[in-house]
Amino acid sequence: MTFDFIKNNILKQNLEISLDHIIILATIAKDKNYNFSEISKSSLRQSIIIHSASIIEGLLFDYIDLIYLDPEYKWKLKSKKVLYKISDTLEIVGGEYHREQIKVDTKTLNIIQLIQILTKNNYISKNLSHNLDKVRILRNGQHLGARDMIQNFSEKDLTFTIQTLKELYIFLQKEYSKINQ
């Protein structure tokens, strides 16, 4: 199995299914019996990019559950009391200001939050973080409503995405090996 270092069996199987689908798409794209148009080739590449990003998100999700994150805090106003009402949009208030620890529910994190937290806590390098973010932006091409042009997914985009997946894969193989020692 490709993702043997992942202990969560459901996640491991889902990662395998996505990787398998990438291999199917990659081989079908080379079928000599079918002449793909440039638009079809771009769409095939986009599908591979989306599935690669999905694997990346799954891997980061698993990794963040294994490591220690520095607690984060935020200030919260309690017992708020309006002292002066200046206008409909401005009030002077009083109350107690409490510094509280933020409880991060890792299950609700999306790919950008995962990348940001791992980078901020120095678990992944700036270079890997930058590359993962570029893949995220490519993946976001799936949101058609947000596009302001016809997006062409090039061979370069595809190679970059799979190369980044490989970088993350190698990095995590080593990290999990250290953690499990």
Partner: protein, 61 residues
């Protein structure tokens, strides 16, 4: 897990670096235009613009 899911996972394990491309061609009903039917899937991917993908399969061997 239903039978279809089990079958899918079983199939996934067939597509490894060393899988012969003739097996992949038959399974997906495609023609990859290779003269050597014993060529490994990983080698085919590496020669056709998917080297990082082939590398991932190689690392998992």
């Amino acid at each position: 897990m239903n039978n279809s899911q089990k079958k899918s996972i079983f199939k996934a394990s067939l597509r490894t670096y060393n899988t012969k491309i003739s097996v992949v061609e038959k399974e997906l009903n495609i023609n990859l235009g290779q003269k050597n039917p014993n060529m490994k899937l990983g080698d085919f991917l590496a020669q056709n613009g998917y080297k990082p993908l082939a590398d991932i399969l190689k690392l998992a061997k």
